[in-house]
């Protein structure tokens, strides 16, 4: 970045400038910065927009088409926002005096969308900048790794995502067998704590599977294929190791509690990894298992039943095939496969597009997610829309990115629909929320009216009139 020295670049990277700029140029630089600040009072420097947490207050969105999601559409109504919450919604509601009115004639109000499967904030630039990647810790068992600690509140992905109507995401770590703990965050806030809704939501476990390859593609070296029986044994061994670890955590918790009750017992050493597992083995919080194939998904159901833990499937290509096991064990699916190709050549071309419709038919509880690292989470509505192009009803498609993810994240009473008392995460649009041509006109997170600016609008403003 430092090597690129156009005038517009100076503004974009002004936090880096003083370190490398000579004193001769410093005055010019400061003048330029001041000029740019005058020119675009609203624009912030790269990423630092998160310092601007919008405008709090009492708002009334009037004359709007209100798509409540949980109930009927109100063709001409008002939503009142106060103290960060939805204070009132309906065709005839009284507007508090002093409320800032937003005339939404011709516009629609939707609940903010929720993507329950991202690495948003953990990965800024995919290639060529490894220092910006905090997705996967080294090692196999990282129960104590916490996404909320790695999330960069000032990532440019935050604004780019929310200006397309996505207001809440689950951000999860990857890697190893136990990757760490995922966080549910709102896409606004200057600190991790300000963003967090559920800082430690769930434990991510990559369910061990029968892998025939050595793992990882190496263009210069051939794969060493593994014998199927061998691969099966290896999978079973990994499952046993995992079970043992959970049971160790259970025992660890018992010893610790006994020690707290009876001070005469010898003190046991703190083990951070086991300690982190305790709420999960006790079923207080869900374990999110990545699994795609039917046999692995059934494997998760059995594993969860054996250990009496709460499970969620992340991925879920063939979840509809394992509907019986999933329903029996009350396991929901965070489906991340709309922008993926079918795995097998002889799969139907729309195998992964139509899976959500099949989940509805089979009665599987699910939501649709991008499964994206961060930059493309803004495409969430189109994932749901494509599922609808291949059989999912429009109503289900909308729920699959609003109410359903809220419910799966345990936030069904706080998010995902427009109802009195819920958190005021709202999007006002000029059309169908899921359509690519639709524009977001107003955006509220936690009842704060946010500017619709991002790294992209800033660069656009900088260059759109260059002759």
């Amino acid at each position: 970045m430092q090597l690129r020295m156009t005038n517009d670049e100076l503004r974009m990277t002004n936090r880096l400038r003083p370190m490398i700029i000579s004193s001769i140029h410093r005055t010019a630089f400061l003048l330029l910065t001041a000029y740019c600040l005058l020119l675009t009072a609203n624009a912030q420097s790269d990423g630092s927009q998160q310092n601007q947490t919008g405008k709090a207050g009492t708002f009334a969105i009037t004359n709007a088409r209100i798509v409540t999601v949980s109930g009927a559409v109100i063709e001409n109504g008002t939503v009142v926002i106060s103290n960060g919450k939805i204070a009132a919604v309906g065709a005839n509601v009284s507007i508090p005096s002093g409320a800032e009115r937003i005339d939404a004639k011709g516009l629609s109000v939707y609940p903010g969308m929720i993507d329950a499967g991202t690495n948003l904030g953990l990965a800024e630039i995919g290639g060529g900048a490894p220092a910006t990647i905090d997705v996967a810790e080294t090692g196999e068992m990282n129960s104590n790794a916490k996404a909320i600690i790695g999330i960069n509140p000032h990532s440019s992905h935050v604004n780019v995502t929310r200006v397309n109507g996505i207001t809440t995401v689950l951000s999860f770590p990857q890697g190893g067998i136990i990757s760490g703990q995922a966080a549910v965050i709102n896409l606004n806030g200057s600190t991790q704590a300000e963003m967090a809704i559920v800082p430690l939501f769930g434990l991510v476990v990559n369910f061990p599977r029968i892998a025939l390859g050595g793992g990882g593609f190496n263009p210069f070296g051939a794969q060493t294929p593994v014998d199927f029986t061998e691969a099966l044994k290896r999978r079973d061994q990994r499952l046993e190791d995992l079970k043992k670890l959970f049971r160790d955590a259970e025992n660890y918790a018992k010893v610790k509690e006994a020690g707290e009750k009876d001070k005469n017992l010898p003190s046991s050493p703190v083990d951070l990894k086991l300690e982190a597992l305790v709420p999960y083995i006790r079923g207080e919080k869900p374990v999110i298992f990545t699994a795609e194939r039917e046999r692995d998904i059934r494997g998760v159901a059995k594993f969860a039943a054996d250990l009496k833990i709460k499970a969620i499937i992340l991925g879920g290509q063939e979840a509809w095939k394992a509907a019986d096991d999933l329903k029996k064990n009350d396991i929901a699916v965070i489906y991340t496969n709309i922008y993926n190709l079918p795995v097998r050549d002889d799969d139907a071309y729309d195998f992964l597009f139509e899976a959500p419709a099949k989940m509805v038919q089979a009665g599987v509880k699910f939501c649709i997610s991008t499964g994206d690292g961060g930059a493309e989470v803004r495409d969430l509505p189109y994932h749901a829309g494509l599922a609808s192009a291949y059989g999912l009803s429009k109503d289900e498609a909308l729920k699959s990115v609003t109410l359903y993810p809220a419910q799966i994240l345990g936030l069904g009473s706080q998010l995902g629909s427009i109802e009195t008392g819920k958190i005021a995460n709202l999007v006002v649009t000029d059309g169908d929320l899921l359509e690519a041509r639709t524009n977001v006109k107003y955006l509220f997170i936690n009842g704060r009216l946010l500017p619709l600016t991002s790294r992209h609008t800033e660069l656009f403003d900088s260059f759109k009139n260059r002759k």
């Binding site: 630039i125 290639g127 922008y339 729309d350 930059a375 494509l386």
Partner: protein, 463 residues
Amino acid sequence: MRKAIVFLMLVSISLISPNLLFAQSKNEILIRNATVLTAAKGTFENTDILIQNGKIAKIGKSLKASANAQIIDGSGKFVSPGIVDCHSHTMLDAVNEFSYSVTSMTRTRDVLNPKDIAIYRALAGGVTTANLLHGSANAIGGQNITVKFKYGKAVEEFPIADAPPGIKFALGENPKRTNFNPTPNAVPRYPRTRMGVMEVIRDAFVRARDYKKEWDDFRAKKSNVQPRRDLELEPLVEVLEGKRLVHAHGYRSDEHLNLLLIADEFGFKVATLQHALEAYKIAPEIAKRGTGASIFADSWSYKLEAYDSIPYNGYILWKAGVSVSINSDSDERMRRLNLDAAKMMKYGGVPEEEALKMITLNPAKQLGIDRRTGSIEVGKDADIVIWNAHPFSVYAHPELTMIEGEIYFDRSKDLTRRAELQKERETLEKLDVNRPPGSGGTPPKVPTEQRRADLDDADGGNR
């Protein structure tokens, strides 16, 4: 006697090619009463399209067809031109000849796999034509081939015979190879910097210019020694002569501009800047040279040099008068280029038809095949997609995709065949070789599937 000869000729023609005699009637299709998005002359409701001999014969209301024409009811449907993807590696068994920094002698047409399932999936997304490019590992890569996705046909039927030839160039991170693990103990390949990349290209064109002079001198009889053919430099001479299109991969605006300056220096034109995610920073410079931009709609941040990419790129370029196409560079993304075009309306406000052109007529122009394809106009190849809804709607899917009047994707037939395929699959799975061990099966030690072992599951192997 004359009559007898004519009769014999007719008989012999029908023996050689029975289709030839009946070609006209067999190929006649009438699409009735559809909303037609021409991508050239506007959108027409309740309109018919008559297709004869693989070409668009008529567009209008209440058209008549011969008795045995195939009639397709287009009521409530939308018809668009087949999508043209200006940057793809579908069908290629090999993408990069990594070894040298200049591999202009290599050709993607030598590694086409007509059975690639990605072709069918692309057809199911409305794509009929693609520019199959060499990879971006080298400053000057291999020769590309423009094909139509005639899935099920022999490989030689895929290339568009009269499409101008082209070649891939690449700038920035990829030809530098600094983001990639080198082969152990190997000496790093030159170049390693953006300075070196430009010098590799300049050096190649200095050599090509000299080589061209040797041939010019020989042909003008100034020299008696016939030069030895140089397969590396021949394609570059064609570039100098304006006979071969340059498709230049790159991201940063400065390096794309530097390439345009080298092209100015040697007197050739760059056909397209590929990716060109920062092209919006140099839109006037690109417009001035008549160079096209073939971009991703909104991909960004996946690598350092894509960090300044913005979804308004297409709009700024379009407004500056640059020919813009939206490509996929991906078997997956290729299936939803219609939505990528729709995004151009959202980001900046490109008008609908101009946005549609970005996946049809504009890439066809950039590839020099717009006389044939890219729009619904009389006389062009009948490369046509029928959609259940407006192709810019997220709720749309193609129902039928045809190339030159032949149907290569038909959703209703695909759905009908599924039960049959499932049965076949179950039969195959019961064969001894496919049964799991322990149940009497004798599975082969090495999986026989084509797909890579590390992609056994969708998550890409052991994470």
